[in-house]
Symmetry: C2
Subunit: 235 residues, 2 copies
DNA sequence: CCCACTTTGTGCATCGGTTCACAAAGGGAC
DNA sequence: GTCCCTTTGTGAACCGATGCACAAAGTGGG
C-alpha cells in the first residue's frame, strides 16, 4: 500500500527544506531589490550558500516553479516561498521578559519587516511594567492570558530567566499557543503539537570552542593524552 | 582498506553529538548542584530532552565513562564533557557591533560562567566608542586587529548591521580568527577552515510560522487551494 | 522548423544520524 | 561464590537528507 499522489506535492515538505526556505527568500529579496527578473538555481544557490542540486530539490517540493533553460522568476518565487512559509498573513508576536535581551528584540526592526509584528511586551517586574518600548506599553505578566486573547497573539518569544520559562510556557500553552521561540537556557517540556524553537548563545559558543580546540590541538600535535581524572578534583 | 583503531575513540565525534554535549553538560550541572552523585542514561536523557539510546551513543563517542548497573558519575562526566568541549581553558571573546543586541550580549552573565570571557567590545560609531559597558570600554573598530592580538581573542561575535558583517569577518579572519558567531542576517563567505555559526531570529520565526500555518490549515480543512498567482502582483 | 544550448526536475547511490534491542558488565544480596 | 537485577555500550536496521548525473523541457538563432 503506497501512498503517493504527486511526487511530493501533497503537503509534505522536509524539515531541512523548511529551514532553508527563509534563506532563499532573503537572497531573492536582495535580487529583487537589485532589479533582477530571473535567477538560475546556480546563482541563487551561491547567494544562499548551498549547493544548487539541493536548492532545486528544495524548490521542487513546493511545486514546479522554474523554467528549464531560463531559471526562476524572482518575484514569482518570492511569492510562492512567502506563501508556503505563511508570510502572506501577519503574525502577532508577544515577547515575555523585557530585560536586556527582550528590549533588544523589541527594538529590532528586522522581523517586523516580514509578516511579524510585536503585539505585546510582558514582564513580572513592577519596575519594568508600564515602560514604553518601541511604541508599546510593557504589561504585567498577570495579564498574560488576557493580552494573548485580546491581541490575537499566535507566537510567543520567551526571554525570561531560565527559572521562569517553563511556568510561562505552561500558561501560554494553556491559552492555546502552539509556537514558542525560547531564549532561556532550559529544556522546556511541552505537550505534543506544540512547536518549540530554541536559540542558545551559550551552546553555539561551546560548539565553536570544541572545533577551535580541535584546530589548535592539530597544530600543536594533538592533546597530550591527558585522559586521566586529575587529582585536584574531589568526587 | 578499513581505518578503524578503537570503535570511535580516535577523535571523530559526530557533529550532531557535539551539538548535544552542551545540553548534557547543563543538565549535569543542575544535578551536581542538587547533590546527585550518579545518574542513569535514562534520567539524564530525560533532563536533556533526548532519547536514552541516543544519549548513550553520544557519550560512547567520548569514551566508556559509565558503570553498567549503576550509571554515570556526575562530576566525572561533567569533567569529561567539559574537557572534550574545550571548556577547561578560557576563551577570550570579542563582540563587534555594540548596538541593541551587542549590549544585551555584553551584559549577559550567562556565558561568562562557562569558560567564555568577553574581552573586548568594538564599534564604528564615535557616539558609542568610549562607552563603558559591563566593565569594558568600547573601542573603535579601527583598533580591531590590534585588540584581537593584544587580548588574545579567539572567538568573534558579530552583532553589526548586515551590511558591515562580511567586511568585519574578512578583517578578523585575516587576523587569524577561525571561529565566528554571526547574528547578522547575511550568508558570510569565508575560507576553508573557518567555522561560522549563525543565530537568526527571523529564520526561527519563519519556521514557526510555517508550522503554525499548517496547524491552523489542518483545522480549517486545508488551504483553499489558492495555488495561483494573484492578479494584483505585478511581474 | 530544426538544432544547439541552457537549465530544470529527479532517480539513484550514498551518507550521517536515530532508534531498537540485546549481549556483556558490574553491583549487591545472601 | 553464585545468582539476580540494573544499566551500559553497540550491532544492525532504518530513515531522512545530500549530491551526482542525466533525461526532459524549454529558449533562441538561423
Ligand atoms: N542577554 C543575552 O544576551 C542573552 C543571551 C542568551 C540567552 N539569554 C537568556 O535570555 C533570557 C533573558 O536574558 P536577559 O539578559 O534579558 O535577562 P534579564 O534578567 O535582563 O531579563 C529578564 C526579564 O524577565 C523578567 N521576568 C522574570 N520573571 C518573569 C516572569 N515570571 N514573567 C515575566 N517576566 C519575568 C525580569 O523582570 C526581567 O525583566 C535569560 O534566560 C537568559 O539566560 C540572554
Ligand atoms: N536586536 C535584535 O534583537 C536582533 C535580532 C536578530 C538579529 N539582529 C541582527 O544583529 C545585528 C545587530 O542588531 P542591533 O539591533 O544591535 O543593531 P544596532 O543598529 O542597534 O547596532 C549595530 C551596531 O553596529 C555598529 N556598527 C555599524 N557598522 C559597524 C562596523 N563596520 N564595525 C563595527 N561596528 C559597526 C553600529 O554603530 C551599531 O552600534 C543586525 O545585523 C541585526 O540584523 C538583531
Amino acid at each position: 500500500m503506497i501512498r503517493r499522489l504527486s511526487q511530493a506535492r501533497e503537503r509534505g515538505i522536509p524539515e531541512a527544506t523548511v529551514a532553508r526556505l527563509p534563506l532563499y527568500l532573503r537572497a531573492l529579496n536582495g535580487m529583487s531589490e537589485r532589479g533582477l527578473a530571473t535567477v538560475s538555481s546556480e546563482d541563487l544557490a551561491l547567494a544562499a550558500g548551498v549547493n544548487s542540486a539541493k536548492l532545486r530539490k528544495d524548490l521542487s517540493h513546493l511545486g514546479s516553479y522554474g523554467t528549464r533553460g531560463v531559471g526562476y522568476d524572482v518575484e514569482y518565487l518570492i511569492y510562492q516561498i512567502s506563501r508556503e512559509l505563511g508570510l502572506t498573513q501577519d503574525w502577532a508576536v508577544a515577547i515575555v521578559g523585557v530585560g536586556n535581551l527582550g528590549r533588544a528584540l523589541a527594538n529590532y526592526g528586522g522581523f517586523v519587516s516580514r509578516g511579524f509584528r510585536v503585539a505585546a511586551l510582558l514582564d513580572a517586574d513592577p519596575e519594568v511594567v508600564g515602560d514604553r518600548i518601541a511604541g508599546l506599553n510593557v504589561e504585567h505578566i498577570d495579564e498574560l492570558e488576557a493580552v494573548i486573547r485580546r491581541r490575537g497573539v499566535s507566537i510567543v518569544v520567551l526571554a525570561t530567566p531560565a527559572a521562569a520559562a517553563q511556568q510561562v510556557a505552561d500558561r501560554v500553552i494553556a491559552e492555546g499557543i502552539t509556537s514558542i521561540l525560547n531564549f532561556a537556557p532550559v529544556v522546556l517540556s511541552v505537550p505534543e503539537g506544540v512547536d518549540i524553537r530554541k536559540v542558545d548563545l551559550s551552546i553555539e559558543l561551546q560548539i565553536l570552542a570544541f572545533h577551535e580546540q580541535r584546530k589548535t590541538d592539530r597544530m600543536t600535535g594533538g592533546p597530550a593524552m591527558a585522559e586521566e581524572w586529575p587529582e585536584a578534583v574531589d568526587l
